[in-house]
């Protein structure tokens, strides 16, 4: 029986979120298999074969798996799923897209955003933008689960490689066709994996305003995040959004600047280890979750912060 983890990757490297899903998988069962479906993705299969806890890698190659549609990926996974008790994938836009499709075809419920395992059939997940957590018990023979990456450490790599077994691809479905992808290019660490995130809100005032944050981010090697209001105003691209409907981050340090702290934003960052808030409004709700609160005008505070960081980090 065991666990099948569907790997998220870009045909070159295994996404960090996959390693978190593997950690959850290992806690559920000793037999953990990883499915790597892609195009020219042998290197990914090899990387997966060296992740601690994995017992077998299934590798499926096809041109239409280069950027697989949910329709194609679900068809492949459903075929394998009957042999497993659990089917897991990261709770990223990748996993959220195809996993419910898998669950519906199998006629089982799906557990979204797993944050804790309480038993073989007991799972904890956030609801209401993280304002409550629910413990649910599954009665299905196959449990389809998306795993919140920030809730599980990445499984370590460097184990002796386990076998990689070729898996025949399924034919391409004509229901859906990927036409194009526009990915944001950035030199900075990935938002969900970064140790430090500096995030700006509507208070940044403009795209130029965000330059002040970039300077801080450069100094700290941090990723840049944003509130929905900042994204909507066009200051930064939409994949910067942190929150209930954006990315979930849990960095060592989160610096929120000019963000009021709506519950939908807090949903994405309140598991950060240390939260700093800079806001000119003393009553801003973000201060309720901040470890360090600085009531100040950001246009004054950020240049000062840059200079102070330069001084302290130089030592």
């Amino acid at each position: 029986m065991g666990v099948l983890v569907i790997a998220e990757h870009d045909n070159a490297t295994l996404a960090g979120a996959t390693l978190s899903a593997i950690t959850a998988a290992v806690r559920l069962d000793d037999a953990v298999q990883v499915l790597v479906a892609g195009h020219g993705c042998r290197a990914v299969a090899e990387a997966a074969a060296r992740v601690q806890g994995v017992s077998l890698v299934r590798h499926s190659e096809a041109a239409h798996y280069a950027r697989p549609t949910a329709e194609d990926l679900a068809a492949l996974v459903v075929d394998l799923a009957a042999d497993f008790t659990y089917v897991l994938a990261p709770a990223s836009t990748f996993g959220k897209n195809f996993l419910p499709r898998v669950a519906a075809i199998l006629d089982v419920a799906m557990i979204s955003d797993l944050i804790r395992i309480e038993g073989p059939d007991r799972f904890v997940r956030p609801i209401y933008a993280g304002n409550a957590v629910a413990t649910v018990q599954s009665t299905d023979p196959i449990k389809v689960v998306s795993v919140r990456a920030t809730a599980f450490d990445a499984a370590p790599s460097g184990a002796t490689a386990v076998p990689i077994e070729a898996l025949e691809a399924k034919p391409h479905s004509d229901l859906a066709e990927v036409l194009a992808e526009q990915l944001t290019q950035s030199e900075r660490p990935e938002l969900t994996a970064a140790e430090i995130v500096v995030a700006g809100g509507r208070g940044m005032g403009s795209a130029e305003g965000f330059r002040l944050l970039e300077e801080i981010a450069d100094r700290l090697g941090a990723a840049i995040g944003a509130s929905r209001a900042a994204v909507d105003a066009g200051y930064v691209p939409n994949d910067y959004q942190v929150g209930q409907t954006g990315k979930i981050v849990a960095p060592k340090l989160y610096i929120a600047v000019g963000i009021s702290g709506a519950i939908q934003h807090l949903a994405g960052m309140k598991d950060a280890k240390v939260v700093v808030a800079i806001n000119k409004d003393e009553a801003a709700p973000i201060f309720q979750v901040a470890d360090y609160a600085l009531v100040a005008d950001l246009f004054q505070a950020l240049p000062e912060l840059g200079a102070e960081l330069k001084r302290v980090l130089a030592k």
Binding site: T69, A74, T93, N97, P100, R101, A104, D107, A109, M110, D113, R122, P126, I127, Y128, A129, G130, N131, A132, V133, A134, T135, V136, Q137, S138, S173, D174, L175, A176, E177, V178, L179, A180, E181, Q182, L220, R228, D239, Q244, T245, L253, I263, K270, K273, V274, V275, V276, F287, V289, D291, Y292, A293, V295, A296, E304, L305, E308, L309, V312, L313
Partner: protein
């Protein structure tokens, strides 16, 4: 063409939810309820497609308690043409909702279903994908752009690294993300007009759908609170604390 728009009645997004003392759920008595914000985007998108031609009718459907009528009236006031209430006593999980919606699709034969990507109460983000799977249709999730063509729909999707464009054969299911559009403000005369629009009601049993919750909620609790922080009076003090106290620099 006909568009079906499923809308869910949820606790208003501005309400700070409270967990019941007995851990059985969250407090819903005397709490403001509204249409799920993502479903508002879905209704708005359907109306815009209708205004652009090609779409003859928009049917809104809600599954739940009789109070979902209110949500349907909102959809009608925004511009939906007809509404369908499917009543049930039990709280349905996404798989069951998808099964009910599949039955509704069977009756209504829409060429496009536009719905929210996520209900802000259960935060599941499953129903649209499940419905598409049950129907054997293509899916365009997390849409920030929708363009209708003769026998296909092109959907721009928000994905983690940026955007992806997919073309789906019709019929298809599209789920709305936040940046799809800005829902219109409802004008008073339209609220009056909505009262005249047809709202049909039936039960889950009448639709012939078997539902059975597969997930049992054992407990609902508050997340652990963050310990309260301190106010710093200057940038220098902040950096000092981050460096020497929190040791995160």
């Amino acid at each position: 063409m006909k568009i079906l728009v499923p809308v869910k009645r949820v606790i208003d997004y501005n309400v700070r939810v409270r967990v019941k003392a007995d851990g059985s759920g969250v407090e819903t008595a005397n709490v403001k309820m509204s249409m799920n914000p993502f479903d508002e985007l879905a209704v708005e998108e359907a109306i815009r497609l209708k205004e652009a031609g090609r779409v003859e009718a928009i049917v809104a459907v809600s599954i739940g308690a009789p109070a979902c009528r209110e949500t349907l009236r909102t959809a009608l006031a925004m511009g939906a043409d007809r509404a369908l209430l499917v009543t049930t006593e039990s709280e349905l999980q996404p798989l069951d909702v998808a099964k009910v919606l599949k039955a509704v699709v069977g009756q209504e034969a829409p060429e496009l279903v536009i719905m929210g990507k996520q209900a802000i109460d259960d935060d599941c983000n499953q129903t649209g994908q499940m419905l598409a799977a049950l129907l054997g249709w293509g899916q365009g999730t997390f849409a920030c752009g929708v363009a209708l063509a003769e026998d296909s729909v092109t959907v721009t999707r928000e994905i983690d690294g940026g955007n992806q464009t997919v073309r789906l054969k019709l019929p298809a299911v599209v789920t709305a993300d936040l940046r799809l559009n800005e829902p219109r403000y409802i004008k008073l005369p339209n609220i009056m007009k909505a009262k005249q629009k047809p709202l049909q009601s039936m039960t889950v049993q009448e639709l012939g759908v078997e539902v059975a919750a597969r997930l049992k909620t054992l407990q609902v609790s508050e997340p652990p609170p963050r310990r309260s922080g301190v106010k710093v009076s200057s940038v220098a003090e902040l950096v000092d604390k981050l460096h020497n106290e929190a040791k995160v620099l």
